[in-house]
């Protein structure tokens, strides 16, 4: 009996949230672009999960691509290598399949860590203000003074060429945006009556931030983060293309193209001789990013409270 009343209480409390969620799902269903976006992302998720079956690992580390000899000249698609090979004879099919895992990994790790740092620093600087706020804002200003890819490029060159350098550089470039949005949200929530009330009854700062401010301010940042994955993967691919990726044997889409960089222009008589070395991995990058951006574009309209119900 007691349980049931608790359940009812919970249901009542959650009713507006459930109502809004249902509305959101309905809007998503009505938007063909977001459905295509979701389908693309699910397709890539399936590739990532099924990677060991689709392309059985040969090396101990599955991210190390197998290579068929050492020949410098890329070989076009054949029955043995259905997407052909890159310069150095790395199998493009294998690289594309396992590269999907790399793409998800880069996207989730970079966005996850940037989000964590951003939420932490943003809420502290928004809540306390003063000198902490000033220092953080000036620091983000400095990072904002550079175009992201160029700062990331300089950082990777300084840290040394590796996947970890790429991840670190992308986090360093990425967190300020989250911190600023979070700060803005916290500043808004800080002035509400319920935060005043919590302060008046003597709640600790920690409790106010965790229990009252965070749950009410984190959603815009979370949405932003989920939509940022495509952009992060695009920047990482550009870094790989510039030769600042994880190294020539590592299964990564940008890296595959970079491996054949001396051949992508083809031969003098046939500029399209090595089309497979860049067209196929590029198609993976483009489709993956497109999936996230389609979802993002639809989400911006659906989740923006000012135009949501138009």
């Amino acid at each position: 009996m007691k349980n049931e009343s608790r359940w009812d209480e919970f249901k009542n409390r959650m009713a507006p949230t459930i109502h809004e969620l249902k509305f959101t799902f309905r809007r998503i269903k009505e938007s063909p672009l977001s459905i295509i976006g979701i389908a693309i992302i699910l397709f890539f998720a399936a590739i990532a999960i099924l990677a060991p079956t689709l392309a059985p690992p040969v090396n101990k580390d599955p991210y190390v691509m197998p290579h068929d000899g050492w020949g410098r000249v890329p070989v076009p698609p054949s029955s043995k290598h259905i997407f052909g090979t890159t310069s150095g004879q790395y199998d493009i099919f294998y690289g594309c399949i396992w590269g999907t895992r790399t793409a998800f990994r880069i996207g989730f790790q970079v966005v996850g860590v940037s989000l964590l740092i951003g939420v932490l620093l943003g809420s502290i600087s928004g809540y306390y203000g003063g000198i902490i706020d000033e220092v953080m804002m000036r620091f983000t200003d400095i990072i904002y003074a550079f175009p992201g890819l160029i700062l990331a490029m300089a950082l990777v060159v300084a840290f040394g060429r590796s996947l970890d350098s790429v991840l670190l550089a992308l986090v360093l470039v990425g967190w300020p945006t989250y911190a600023r949005v979070m700060r803005g949200e916290v500043l808004k929530i800080k002035q509400t009556n319920y935060v005043e009330a919590a302060k008046a009854i003597g709640c600790s700062d920690f409790r106010i931030i965790i229990r009252h401010i965070l749950p009410n301010s984190i959603y815009p940042v979370l949405i932003m983060a989920s939509l940022d994955i495509g952009a992060v993967v695009l920047t990482a691919a550009a870094l790989s293309f510039l030769g600042l990726g994880a190294g020539e044997a590592f299964a990564d889409w940008g890296q595959l193209i970079s491996n054949s960089r001396d051949y992508i222009m083809g031969t003098a008589s046939n500029p399209l001789a090595y089309w497979h070395t860049w067209l196929i991995p590029g198609l993976f990058i483009f489709t993956f990013v497109l999936g996230w951006n389609l979802l993002g574009d639809a989400f911006r309209d659906i989740l923006d409270p000012t135009i949501r119900r138009r």
């Binding site: 003074a145 060159v157 300084a158």
Partner: protein, 345 residues
């Protein structure tokens, strides 16, 4: 606040930004030991280790950090950024200066192309909201937004250079290059389109323009979506305002309302994103120039990065940081000039 006071304040705020930009690059340099940093100022590999110690001494690379920053900053601002190994052992600042005209030429042709197409598509999209043109334009801008810059460049090359055998990559054809580098061709600006005209050799200008088309198209494809998006939402906002109804009520045609009233006001927010557009272009040129073998500063930076040429890449980043900050300063002042509400805040 008057316009003068606003400009003064904004320019003064530029000083801490400059210090910040240089501090960040300086901080990145601190990853390296004084010996490693010294090698940036030496041509080739010295046989005698005492050379390195002399450089450390001369450039104050072992001093306390604040002093080091002071010496580094004065050197960097006077143009001494070290030696660019990846560009044939010339000073980094010289390599940058050599690349600027080519990049400037590319950007100069890209900006109007991006602005005109972006504004046109943004207006078209907003005026036809939720109708077919709007959907098509939105889908195309999402596609442009998602294209890897290097991949779209490669596709353009495959179609127009590979398939249609149109023009070769690079800045000029071989014949034009031979003329441009010959002694009786004066390179006033080092921008081939302009130099061709100044030397009275129209075919050089045409040759340079032909080689500019594909890089400009590529930069436009990957950057135009930003302008389309901002112009569209700005138009939609203006269209819902009272004065539009008034203008229509007094009997003006739809075209007049849109062109004479709405479009003008909707353009204001587009100016604010010019800063972001600059960042996109600065990034875009690194990739585009590399793929099109177009020798500007982006090409230089990409090749330096490939060879892990640290002084060149950091020198380039410093230069880009300064240019970008300056662009933002100009955007802010222009914005305040056009929209008085900004400077009253």
């Amino acid at each position: 606040m008057g316009m003068k006071a606003y400009v003064m304040r904004r320019v003064l705020l530029f000083i801490p930004t400059l210090l910040g930009v240089t501090l960040l690059i300086f901080a990145v340099l601190q990853i390296f030991t004084p010996e490693e940093r010294a090698s940036a100022y030496i041509m080739g590999t010295p046989k005698d280790p005492s050379v390195i110690y002399r450089v450390i001494e001369k450039y104050h690379l072992n001093d306390p950090i604040p002093l080091q920053y002071y010496y580094w900053l004065t050197r960097a601002l006077s143009g001494d950024l070290g030696i660019a190994r990846s560009a044939g052992n010339i000073p980094v600042s010289v390599a940058l200066l050599q690349g600027i005209p080519a990049t400037l030429e590319l950007v100069m042709f890209s900006i109007p192309s991006i602005a005109i197409l972006g504004i046109y598509l943004g207006v078209k999209s907003a005026v036809n909201r939720d109708k077919a043109p709007d959907h098509i334009i939105r889908i195309f801008s999402i596609i442009g937004w998602s294209l890897p810059t290097f991949w779209s460049a490669l596709i353009l090359i495959a179609i127009f250079y590979g398939g249609l055998n149109w023009v070769s990559i690079g800045r000029l054809s071989n014949e034009a290059y031979a003329v441009v580098t010959s002694s009786n061709f004066i390179r006033y600006t080092r921008m081939n389109t302009i130099d061709g005209l100044l030397n009275g050799q129209l075919w050089i200008t045409i040759d340079a323009l032909e080689h500019l088309v594909l890089p400009v198209v590529n930069l436009t494809i990957v950057s135009v979506a930003l302008i389309v998006r901002v112009m569209r939402s700005s138009m939609l906002e203006e269209l819902s305002k009272g004065y539009v109804l008034t203008a229509k009520a007094k009997g003006l045609s739809n075209d007049v309302v849109i062109n004479k009233h709405v479009k003008r006001n909707a353009l204001i927010p587009v100016i604010t994103v010019t800063g972001v557009l600059t960042a996109g272009l600065l990034t875009g040129v690194v990739i585009t120039e590399t793929v099109f073998n177009y020798k500007g500063i982006g090409y230089f930076a990409a090749h330096a990065a490939l060879q892990m040429d640290i002084p060149s890449v950091l020198g380039f980043a410093l230069f880009v940081g300064l240019v970008y900050s300056l662009a933002n300063l100009i955007v802010d002042i222009t914005y305040a000039y056009i929209d008085p509400r900004i400077r009253l805040e």
